[in-house]
Symmetry: C2
Subunit: 330 residues, 2 copies
C-alpha cells in the first residue's frame, strides 16, 4: 500500500508538498500540484487516516448509542444525524446497546480511547452521576430521552405537553373514563407523559383513577396484557392512551379478542407515529415526533460542543404533532 512517502518520491517532491496538495492547506505551484496528483493516481494512493488522526488527535467520528435498531422510531432520527454529520465531514458510528449498561460502557471506551470525538445518547441506562462524569470530559448530547440532573445537553420534544394534547383529544371526543397504558421504567419521557395525562384529566375535573393506569414495556405483547387487565378487573375505560404505538396495537388486538370494535366501543391512541401506525387498520391516532429534525439538531449541537463553540449544557425542545386517524374517531 502506497504511503505519502511513495507519492512524494514518485512525484519528485517532499512529503510536505504532497500533504499540502491533499489538504489544500497552503499554496502549491501548479506544476508541483499536477505532479502530485498524477503520482496519487499512478500509485492508487489512499491516505491512511490512522496517521492523520493520530497527528490531529481527532477522528471526525461521532458515536451514536441507541438501545436497539429494531425500533423503527430511531430510524429517521439516525438519518438526520447522519445527514448533518456527513455535511460536516463527520462519520457516524451506530452502536446497539440493547439497553445494557455494560454494553454502553464498552462503546464509550471507544471515545475514551480517542476513536470517536463525541457521543449522542438515545436513551441511556447509566446513572445521572456517570453521565455527568462523562460529559465533563467528553462532548455529549442526549436525544429524546435524557437525565434531568445530568450536566449534559439534550434535545427532545415536550413530552408532558404532547401527552396533554393526546388526552385532550380523547376528552374532546366525549370520553371521560380514559385509561393509560404506560411503562414501568425510569425514562423521563414516561414520567412526563404520565404527568400530561393527569393534568389533562384534572383540568376537566376528572379524578385520576389509579386503577385505570396499567403498565407495559413499549412492546406489542405487553399492550395486549395491559389491556386484558382492564377486562379482567371488569373496569374498562372507553378510551385508552398508550405511550407507544406498539402497545396501542396490542391493546387493539386485545379489544378485538373480546368481540369489541375500535373506535366504536373503545378508542385507542398511541405515541410516536411509527410507520406501521398508518399501515394498521384502523389507522392509529398518535403523537408524531419530528424524528428527522431531532436527529439533525442533536448532531448540530454535538458538533458545536466538539468544536468548543458550546460549553454550557443546552436544552432544546422541538415541536410535536397530533396525528388523528380512525382509531379515535367514532
Amino acid at each position: 500500500m502506497a504511503t505519502i512517502q511513495d507519492v512524494a518520491k514518485e512525484a519528485g517532491v517532499s512529503v510536505a508538498t504532497v500533504s499540502r496538495v491533499i489538504n489544500g492547506s497552503s499554496k502549491v505551484s501548479p506544476k508541483a500540484r499536477k505532479a502530485v496528483l498524477d503520482a496519487i493516481r499512478q500509485l492508487n494512493y489512499q491516505p491512511n487516516l490512522l496517521g492523520r488522526n493520530l497527528r490531529l488527535m481527532q477522528t471526525k467520528m461521532a458515536l451514536v448509542l441507541l438501545p436497539t435498531i429494531s425500533n423503527p422510531f430511531y430510524s429517521m432520527i439516525v438519518k438526520g444525524m447522519e445527514d448533518v454529520a456527513h455535511k460536516n465531514g463527520y462519520n457516524v458510528m451506530l452502536c446497539n446497546t440493547n439497553s445494557d449498561v455494560s454494553r454502553e460502557k464498552v462503546y464509550l471506551e471507544l471515545m475514551k480511547n480517542r476513536l470517536a470525538d463525541g457521543v449522542i445518547f438515545l436513551a441511556s441506562e447509566m446513572s445521572e452521576e456517570e453521565l455527568s462524569q462523562i460529559a465533563m470530559r467528553f462532548p455529549v448530547v442526549q436525544c429524546c430521552e435524557y437525565k434531568e440532573e445530568a450536566r449534559a445537553s439534550h434535545v427532545s420534544i415536550d413530552n408532558k405537553a404532547a401527552a396533554y394534547m393526546a388526552v385532550k383529544h380523547l376528552i374532546k371526543q366525549g370520553h371521560r373514563k380514559i385509561g393509560l397504558i404506560s411503562c414501568e421504567n425510569s425514562f423521563i419521557s414516561t414520567k412526563q407523559r404520565e404527568e400530561g395525562y393527569k393534568i389533562a384529566l384534572e383540568e376537566e375535573g376528572i379524578l385520576v383513577d389509579l386503577s385505570l393506569i396499567k403498565h407495559g414495556d413499549y412492546g406489542f405483547r405487553s399492550g395486549i396484557r395491559a389491556m386484558n387487565q382492564f377486562f379482567i378487573e371488569n373496569n374498562v375505560p372507553t378510551a385508552v392512551f398508550c405511550i407507544s404505538d406498539s402497545m396501542a396495537i396490542g391493546a387493539i388486538k386485545s379489544i378485538w379478542a373480546k368481540g369489541l370494535k375500535v373506535p366504536k366501543d373503545i378508542a385507542v391512541m398511541g405515541f410516536d407515529d411509527i410507520n406501521f401506525a398508518s399501515m394498521y387498520s384502523p389507522g392509529l391516532t398518535t403523537i408524531a415526533q419530528p424524528q428527522y429534525d431531532l436527529g439533525c439538531v442533536s448532531m448540530e449541537l454535538l458538533l458545536k460542543v466538539i468544536g468548543g463553540e458550546i460549553i454550557e449544557p443546552q436544552t432544546i425542545y422541538l415541536e410535536h404533532e397530533l396525528i388523528i386517524r380512525e382509531s379515535t374517531l367514532g
Copy 2:
C-alpha cells in the same frame, strides 16, 4: 490526558514495561507490574488507540453496510454480528447506506483508509466488478444478498428452495391460481424466489401465467398497489405469495378494501417473518430466515478472512423455515 509516557514516569519504569503490562505480551516482574497498575489508576490512564492502531496497522473494527436500519429484518442479523465480533475483541460499525451507491463508497473509504479491518455487505448496490475489486484488496463478506459473479464469500439461505416451499404450501391448501408479488430489482434473492415460485407451479402442471406476477418495492404501500392491480385487471388469484411481509400486509389491506376476507377469499403469504408478522391479524404465514445465525456466521467468516485463515471465497447456506399462521389456513 495521560499518555503511556506519563504512566512510565509515574511508575518509575520505561514505556516498554508499561506497554508490556497493558498487553500482557511478555514477562514483567510482580513489582514493576504493581507499580504500573498503580500509576495507571493514579493517572486515570486510557490508552490512545490511535497510536496503537497506527503501530499495529489494524483497528479491530468491522464495517457493516446495510441499506436501512428501519427494516426490522436486519435487527437480529446485526445482533448476531455484534455478539460474535465482541467475543473476538472486535467492534462493529453500522453504516446506513440508504441503498445509495455513493453512500456505500463513502463508507468503504473508511476501510480503504484503514479505519476498519473488513466489511460485511447486506444488499449492496455496487456492480459485481466493483465488489470483486474491493474483495481482492480487502476482507469482504456478503450476507443475505450477494452478487453471484463477485469473487467474495457469501452467507444466505437458499431463496429458491424457500420460495418453492412457500408455494407448495399454498398448493397443498388447494390453490391453483396463485399470484406472485415480487420486486423489480436486481437482487439475487428476488430472482431466486421467482424461480422457486415457477418451479413449484410447473411441478404441479400449473402453467406460469405472467399476468399473475406483479411488482412492488418491498414496502407496504407497494403491496396495496400490486394487489389492486389484480382487481383492476379482473384477474384475481385465490392465493398470493409476496416476497416480503410488508407487501403481504399491504395486499391484505387491499383485499379488505374490496370487502373480501383473508384467508377465506384469498390466502396471503409473506417472506422474512418480521416481528410484525405475528402481531398482525390474521397472523401472517411466512418464511423465517435464521437471522441471528446469518449474522453470526457472516461475522465468523469475516474474522477468518481478516485473520488470513480463509483466502478462497466461501459459500454458506443456512436453513430457512416455513411458519404457518392464519393468513393461509382457510
